[in-house]
Amino acid sequence: MLEWFTAISTPVLVMGGMALAFGALLGFAAVRFRVEGDPLVEKVDALLPQTQCGQCGYPGCRPYAEAIVNGDTINKCPPGGQATINELANLLDMEPVPLDAEHGVEDVRKVAFIREAECIGCTKCIQACPVDAIVGAAKYMHTVIADECTGCDLCVEPCPVDCIDMIPLEASLQDWHPQIPADGVRLIASDRQQHGSSASDKRDAA
């Protein structure tokens, strides 16, 4: 009886000791290398356009990122448009879906503009702006910092005198970049002949 006990006591002790040691190590690592927050939420949030417009039905981009991680659909962000949906689908390994029209449609980028002569200085838009892009004080004219405006639209509704317009961003020379050329017309063999001579000339010159 005792012999049997001594025979298995060593392996049991060794295995038990190892289990304890690794358990302690894992426990320590769990505390020491604890990750604050969900890293996936960060990644999703980084892809969202940060307009903080709330068109998705959540109060800002981060809450929507959290909702996406918790299983909400990825097609509720009109400012991001199809490009954002594609990136999100890529990140989350999902099929890209078209934008949900219920939350709005993809539009050109706009910025808010206050018609300053009509502004009564009520500060309502300042309180509505999610990114503090409106400056002004009570009974003083307000104005929008166009560079910081995300075009979220949230200041338009609270304005009691309707002096805020959403203006599409004008295309400037600095922001302009060429577009990918359209695909060439597929030529049939007989058409190709007409261009053949010039193309071969070119190659000879090369």
């Binding site: 020379l173 970049h177 060429p178 190659r203 090369a206």
Partner: protein, 720 residues
């Protein structure tokens, strides 16, 4: 052999050795020098037809001054200049009309004297065709210079002063990119600049502006190079690189460079050896690192035209207001190089070169490889206009439609940056930004060699340009969204903090109140507490008194009596009215009568209660009379009594009135009320009051009543 001899022999041998070594070193240095001057080759490249002879037949010419000059405020890489002139202002030739805004920006000067007729978006030679802010000058033809600050000997000025001068003169690179020259000359990389390269390659077909400048203005260029070398603290080597297809220019430059330490290096013609990175590799064998600058490897590179412009700026104080441009193409009668004021509309230039609009295929700004098509020929010449190419259809046939990529790999062989254009093409089509960057898209110099060799005629460079722009704007977007996120989070934090502070304050106040109360309770014996107690007692006593007075049974009794009499009177009156009233109003009056009777009953009950309570509280045989007496004694009771008397008298008078008289009086009162109501309604209408409807219905009711009364009166009149 004696030891001394041994030593001398050894010394001799040592001397010989060191001599040999020294001579070898000299040889090595010479060879190194030779090797450095022996041009290297770079990967790829193409040999398109040069087409340079058309525009080199004539010396650099000029054309009559245009009537209107369009001077864009941004003709360079960097921020737009800030306008310094007002509408209608007269400007002199060379006067600064736009100052540099920030470090990477460039000043703009009036190309000729005249009047500012507009400050507005002007057309601009740019692939987008978008206009930019600019100054429109109507020239007066006088060419009156503003005051210039010439400088006989640039060595008397410090390099920094010279840099200021170059910056003030608005000199941007004339090779085509237009980078502000002063910024390039003050490198911030921390590397020592050991080589200055002057780029006279001009490898793109058709363009001969630098070639002609070197042929005719070699001395000015060399003088400019001297200034550049002085500013850069005399770098070890100054190399002037020229392709071997410009023998006249090479001869002229060699002649001008005699007696200086500048080397003119000649190398075989190959496109795009004029690219900055390629030229550096040709001349020095060094490679500019990925996303780095030539200054990172100790090199500064400038164009020959820029060197000349710098010379004129320093020596004569002349700002950059004109440049040499090649005007070429078979659709023109005359093909040559001209020195033309910046801002001259391209249509004006074409007019003076006999353009044949029918044969003209399009207008290209720049060369056939890297240039772009101009949609609007009113766009002006700017600092980067190297060439205006106006080809015929035969000369430069439109590109055939693109075919699918067959993976032949010609483009990879031709790429001077050793990239894989076919891979970049696929990723650009798929808009895979990560892969594009992994394949070093940003090392592409957009030379167009790949498109040139493509057997499928795919416009590869267009794809790279689009992809670059796309990535850049996406990066900007990302930066912007990061900033928006930061601001949003900061705002959230701020609001939370404010909320917390408010909560904290509320709590603190509550606690303070709690504490104060406890303290009060603890220190009830303290004198202050006593005083407070007393005060509170006084108030309580006063309140109690008031309450007692209100609730005194005598008064209640009196009130009950009054309400009873009035109720009974009303019942009586209604009874009488009911009897007199015509049939149709009986129902209504009967209802009123019933209500009045109920009220009277209630009043009677109340009176009984009051009498009972008065009896109880008086604790004695106090009666209604006594109560009345007691109330009589107070003056307020007197007043009330008076009022009652008055009312009674009025009631009696009313009672004594004949029916007709009473009706008349009522009519009068009603009429007055109707007019009042009308006025009120009017006012409400004017002010757009919300209660307009209510007023209107009230008025209507009143009018009805009035009519009814009048009818009644008439009836009476008829009866009597």
């Amino acid at each position: 052999m004696s030891p001394e001899q041994e030593i001398t022999r050894r010394e001799q041998r040592g001397d010989a050795e060191s001599e040999r070594r020294a001579s070898r070193e000299v040889q090595l240095i010479a060879r190194e020098h030779q090797r450095a001057l022996k041009p290297n080759d770079f990967h790829g490249g193409v040999h398109p037809p040069e087409n340079k002879h058309q525009s080199t037949g004539e010396p650099i010419g000029s054309i009559p001054l245009a009537e209107t000059l369009f001077v864009p405020l941004v003709q360079h890489v960097g921020a737009s200049a800030l306008p310094l002139v007002k509408l209608g202002e007269r400007v002199l030739k060379g006067q600064m009309i736009g100052e540099a805004d920030g470090l990477i920006s460039c000043a703009v000067h009036a190309p000729s004297s005249g009047t500012v007729v507009a400050l507005e978006p002007v057309p601009m030679p740019h692939p987008s065709g978008l206009p930019v802010d600019g100054v429109v000058i109507r020239t007066d033809g006088e060419e009156q210079w503003c005051e210039l600050r010439p400088c006989e000997d640039f060595r008397k000025l410090a390099p920094l002063e010279l840099l200021d001068k170059i910056r003030d003169c608005g000199i941007a690179g004339l090779g085509g990119a237009g980078f502000p020259a002063a910024v390039k000359l003050a490198p911030h990389t921390g590397t020592e600049i050991d080589t200055l390269i002057i780029n006279g390659t001009e490898c793109e077909p058709y363009i001969t502006a630098d070639d002609m400048t070197m042929r005719e203005r070699a001395a000015e260029i060399i003088a400019g190079v001297e200034i550049l070398a002085y500013i850069l603290d005399e770098p070890q080597r100054v190399l002037i690189g020229i392709e071997d297809n410009k023998p006249e220019a090479i001869a002229a430059m060699r002649k001008a460079a005699e007696g200086t330490r500048f080397d003119v290096v000649v190398y075989p013609t190959k496109y795009p050896s004029g690219g900055e990175k390629q030229l550096i590799q040709i001349l020095t064998g060094r490679e500019v690192p990925n996303r780095g600058l030539p200054a990172n490897v100790g090199i500064i590179c400038h164009n020959t035209g820029t060197a000349r412009a710098i010379y004129r700026a320093v020596r004569f104080g002349e700002p950059l207001i004109s440049r040499v441009t090649t005007v070429v193409g078979e659709a023109l009668e005359r093909q040559r190089n001209i020195e033309v004021p910046i801002g001259t509309p391209i249509s004006h230039i074409l007019k003076h070169h006999g353009v044949h609009r029918g044969r003209m295929q399009r207008i290209i700004h720049g060369g056939p490889m890297m240039g772009f098509t101009l949609e609007d020929d009113s766009a002006p010449v700017i600092k980067t206009t190297t060439c205006i190419l106006v080809p015929t259809d035969a000369e430069l046939p439109p590109p055939p439609p693109a075919q699918p990529c067959i993976r032949c790999g010609f483009c990879a062989e031709a790429c001077p940056a050793s990239l894989l254009p076919q891979q970049l093409y696929w990723y650009a089509r798929a808009e895979d930004r990560e892969k594009l960057q992994a394949y070093n898209l940003f090392d592409c110099i957009e030379c167009g060699a790949c498109s040139y060799v493509c057997p499928s005629s795919i416009p590869l460079v267009q794809y790279y340009r689009a992809a670059k722009g796309d990535i850049r704007s996406a990066e900007e977007e990302k930066e912007k969204s990061a900033r928006a996120r930061e601001r949003f989070e900061f705002r959230k934090l701020r609001i939370e903090k404010a909320e917390k502070e408010k909560e904290e304050k509320r709590r603190a106040r509550r606690e303070a109140a709690e504490q104060a109360r406890q303290q009060r309770q603890e220190n009830t014996d303290a004198p202050e507490a006593k005083a407070a107690q007393q005060e509170a007692d006084v108030v309580a006593a006063a309140l109690a008194r008031v309450k007692a007075k209100q609730a005194s049974p005598e008064q209640q009794l009196a009130r009950a009596q009054r309400s009873l009499t009035s109720a009974e009177q009303r019942v009586e009156r209604l009874q009488k009215k009911l009897n007199e009233a015509p049939e149709d109003q009986r129902g209504q009056l009967a209802a009123q009568l019933k209500a009045a009777q109920i009220k009277a009953a209630e009043a009677r009950q109340k009176l009984a209660e009051a009498e009972a309570s008065a009896g109880d509280s008086a604790a004695g045989p106090s009666t209604v009379k006594a109560a009345a007496d007691s109330s009589d004694s107070s003056p307020s009771a007197d007043k009330a009594q008076d009022a009652i008397e008055r009312a009674k008298a009025a009631a009696a008078a009313r009672a004594s009135m004949s029916d007709e008289e009473r009706l008349a009086a009522e009519l009068e009162a009603l009429k007055a009320r109707v007019t009042k109501a009308e006025a009120r309604l009017e006012k409400a209408r004017a002010e757009n009051d919300a209660n307009v409807d209510a007023f209107a219905t009230a008025l209507e009711k009143m009018q009805n009543k009035l009519e009814q009364k009048m009818r009644e009166q008439n009836n009476r009149g008829g009866e009597s």
